[in-house]
C-alpha cells in the first residue's frame, strides 16, 4: 500500500487537498469498490448458503442459484451503494452551493469506502466463525403455503442465538467502519465541492448518522 493510500485512512484532509490539484480519476476508487464488492460477495455467498439450506425442502437443487444470486447481488449492491451515496452527497452539497463535479464526488466516495473493506473482512471472518453454529430451519411445502408460517420460520432463523450474535457483531463493525468512512467523506466532500468544514459535515454527517440510527433501530427491534 502506497503512503498515499494510508493518508486516506489517517490524514484524509491532506490526502484530498492533494487530490484536489490532480485530475479526477475513478480508476482507484472503482478498484476499492470492486474489492469491497468482492469481499461482500464472499459474505453473500456464505449467507446465501444459509438461505439455500432453508429453502432446500421446497426447492431442491436450487441452492446454487440462490447462492450465486446472493453473490451477484452483494457485488452489484456495492456499486449501487457507491452511486447512491455519491448522489446523496452531491444533492445535499448542492444545497450548500457546492461546486465540484459528480465524478469528483464519486471519486471521494470511492476513496472513502476503503475502511469498509477492512470492516467487510472482519465481518467475513466473523461469519466464517458463526455460520456453522447457526441452526438453519428448513421450509416445507406446507409451510410455504402459509404466509404466517413463513414469517414464523424466518423469525426462528433470525432469532437463532448464533445468527443474532453474528448480526449484532456485523452491524456494530459496519457502523464503526461506516463512521470512519463518513469521517473521510466529510473531508473529501469539503475539498471536492468547495464547502466549509461545517457544511461538509452536515452534507455527509446527517445522512450517515440517520442511516446509522436506522441500523441501530433495526438492531434494537430484531
Amino acid at each position: 500500500m502506497s503512503p498515499l493510500i494510508i493518508d486516506i485512512l489517517i490524514r484524509p484532509d491532506a490526502f484530498f487537498s492533494t487530490r484536489e490539484t490532480e485530475k479526477e480519476s475513478l480508476k482507484i476508487p472503482a478498484l476499492i469498490i470492486l474489492t469491497g464488492g468482492i469481499v461482500a460477495a464472499i459474505y453473500g455467498y456464505l449467507m446465501g448458503g444459509l438461505s439455500a439450506k432453508m429453502m432446500e425442502g421446497v426447492m431442491p437443487g436450487m441452492g446454487a442459484v440462490i447462492t450465486l444470486s446472493a453473490m451477484a447481488g452483494a457485488l452489484i449492491m456495492t456499486f449501487i451503494f457507491w452511486l447512491i451515496v455519491a448522489g446523496i452527497f452531491y444533492l445535499v452539497s448542492s444545497l450548500f452551493k457546492g461546486l465540484g463535479s459528480f465524478n469528483r464526488v464519486l471519486e471521494v466516495v470511492g476513496y472513502g469506502y476503503l475502511p469498509q473493506i477492512a470492516g467487510s473482512l472482519i465481518t467475513l471472518v466473523t461469519a466464517i466463525v458463526y455460520i456453522p453454529k447457526i441452526a438453519v430451519p428448513t421450509l416445507t411445502t406446507a409451510a410455504l403455503q402459509d404466509p404466517a408460517m413463513i414469517e414464523q420460520v424466518t423469525k426462528a432463523f433470525l432469532h437463532d442465538p448464533a445468527m443474532m450474535e453474528l448480526t449484532q457483531i456485523t452491524t456494530l463493525v459496519s457502523i464503526v467502519f461506516l463512521l470512519w468512512s463518513a469521517h473521510i467523506w466529510i473531508f473529501g466532500i469539503m475539498h471536492a465541492r468547495g464547502l466549509s468544514p461545517r457544511d461538509a459535515a452536515i452534507c455527509v454527517g446527517v445522512p450517515i448518522v440517520l442511516y446509522v440510527l436506522y441500523m441501530t433501530y433495526k438492531l434494537g427491534v430484531m
Binding site: 443474532m164 449484532q168 469521517h183 461545517r198 454527517g205 446509522v212 438492531l219 434494537g220
Partner: protein, 389 residues
C-alpha cells in the same frame, strides 16, 4: 225219565268243561315257568324327573324259559308318587321262550325330591303275578349358568365380552339347551346361543358380547328340555358404567418439545400402566394444532402391561398457543377405541420466548451503536468548534 236225561246231559257237559277249567289255573309247571320270567331292564325318560314332570317308563320283561311260553294278561305300574297317566295293559300277550316283551307307560310325578319305587306288576295267566319295584329319581337340580369373567365396568357404546359356562349338574342328560340374551338398551351378539344336548355332569363355555347404550340389566335365559318338559334358568347381569380396573392405561411421559421451521416436534414415551394390552396405540395433536408431515399421526402399536414405546408427532400451532392437546388413542381386545388427551406446554424454544430474550440481548449492541454515533457527532462538533476558533 226225561228229567234223568236232562241231568245226564248237564253232568256230561260239566264233565267235559271241568278239565278245561282245570287248564286255566296254575299248575306246578306253569308256576315254575313264571318263575323264570323277569324284568330285564327299566328305562325312564327323562332319567330323572323334576317335580311336575311327565315322562315314560319302558319295562323290558324277558321269558327266561328255553322251551315254554308264558301268557301275561295284565301289566301296570305306579304308586301315589309316580302316577300312571296312560292305560295299563289289559290284554293277554304271549312271551315266547327266551323272548323279551316291552311295556311302555306314561307316568307323571308331583312328588318332592327323592328316590321313589313305583311297583310294576305283571299278571300271568297260569300263575301268580310278577311284582317289580322300578326305582326312579325326582331331582329338582336345575342347570347352572355361571359367569366366568366379565368386565368390571362397561362403557357406553363399547363392546365388552362376558364369558359364561353352562353346566349340567344332574345325573341325566338334558336336550335343546339354548341361551337367550335380552336387555333394554343393549346390543348382544349373539342374541341366542344354541347348545343342544348336554350330558349329565357336562359343561359348555359360552361367550357373548354386550354393547350397552345405557346402564341397564342383561337378562340371560337358559332354556332346556328334561325329556319333553321345558325348563329354564335365568340370570341377571347388571351393566354399570364406570372405569374398568383392569383396562389398559397408556400414559405419556418424558415429553419433549422442539421447534424447527415453525413446526413443533413433540417426542416422548407411552407406558401402559394398565393390566390389559393396549392395541394400536396412536398419538396425534389436536386443534388448535395442525398436524404436519412427517409425523401427523404416530402409531406406537400394541403395548402389553408395563410395556412402553416411543412416539413423535409434528404439527404447527398458531401464535399465542402455549399448550397443545395431544391425543392418545388405543383399542381394547374387542376393538373399542379409547381416547385420552394430555396438554403439552410449548417450551421456550418457541419463537415468542426467543423474541423476549432478544430484547435484553440486543440492549448492549444498541447502546454501543448509540455511543459510537455520539462519539462521531461529538468528535466532529468539537473539531468544528476548535477549527472555528
Amino acid at each position: 225219565m226225561r228229567m234223568n236225561h236232562f241231568l245226564a246231559i248237564i253232568c256230561l257237559l260239566l264233565f267235559c268243561i271241568l278239565p278245561g277249567i282245570a287248564l286255566a289255573y296254575s299248575t306246578p309247571e306253569s308256576i315254575v315257568a313264571s318263575g323264570n320270567v323277569y324284568v330285564s331292564r327299566i328305562v325312564y325318560d327323562p332319567g330323572a324327573f323334576f317335580t311336575g314332570d311327565a315322562g315314560t317308563v319302558t319295562i323290558y320283561v324277558t321269558n327266561g324259559n328255553s322251551n315254554q311260553s308264558v301268557v301275561v294278561n295284565h301289566a301296570t305300574i305306579g304308586d301315589k308318587n309316580i302316577r300312571l297317566i296312560s292305560n295299563p295293559y289289559d290284554t293277554s300277550a304271549n312271551i315266547g321262550p327266551l323272548q323279551t316283551q316291552t311295556f311302555i307307560f306314561s307316568v307323571a310325578t308331583d312328588a318332592f325330591e327323592g328316590v321313589y319305587y313305583p311297583t310294576f306288576s305283571l299278571s300271568f295267566r297260569d300263575a301268580d303275578s310278577l311284582y317289580y319295584r322300578a326305582m326312579v329319581k325326582v331331582d329338582n337340580t336345575p342347570l347352572q349358568l355361571t359367569v366366568l369373567d366379565k368386565p368390571d365396568a362397561f362403557t357406553q357404546g363399547a363392546k365388552k365380552t362376558i364369558y359364561l359356562q353352562v353346566a349340567n349338574p344332574r345325573k341325566n342328560n338334558v336336550s335343546s339347551v339354548d341361551l337367550d340374551v335380552t336387555g333394554d338398551g343393549i346390543s348382544a351378539l349373539p342374541e341366542q346361543v344354541f347348545i343342544g344336548d348336554l350330558t349329565g355332569g357336562g359343561t359348555v363355555p359360552v361367550n357373548i358380547t354386550i354393547t350397552p347404550e345405557k346402564a341397564t340389566t342383561v337378562l340371560l335365559t337358559l332354556n332346556y328340555d328334561n325329556g319333553d318338559n321345558p325348563h329354564n334358568v335365568t340370570m341377571e347381569i347388571p351393566v354399570a358404567f364406570g372405569v374398568d380396573k383392569k383396562q389398559a392405561n397408556p400414559v405419556m411421559s418424558n415429553v419433549q418439545v422442539k421447534t424447527d421451521t415453525g413446526i413443533y416436534d413433540v417426542t416422548g414415551d407411552v407406558n401402559n400402566a394398565g393390566l390389559e394390552t393396549a392395541n394400536t396405540v396412536m398419538v396425534t395433536a389436536l386443534s388448535p394444532a395442525v398436524p404436519q408431515d412427517p409425523y401427523k399421526t404416530y402409531v406406537v402399536g400394541a403395548l402389553k402391561p408395563d410395556d412402553f414405546g416411543s412416539f413423535e408427532v409434528t404439527f404447527t400451532a398458531g401464535p399465542g398457543n402455549t399448550t397443545i392437546p395431544i391425543q392418545l388413542s388405543y383399542k381394547d381386545a374387542d376393538g373399542n377405541i379409547y381416547n385420552t388427551v394430555q396438554d403439552v406446554k410449548l417450551t421456550s424454544s418457541g419463537v415468542s420466548t426467543t423474541t423476549e430474550n432478544s430484547d435484553s440481548s440486543n440492549l448492549l449492541p444498541v447502546a454501543a451503536a448509540i455511543v459510537l454515533v455520539l462519539i462521531f457527532v461529538g468528535g466532529w462538533l468539537y473539531y468544528l468548534k476548535r477549527n472555528k476558533k
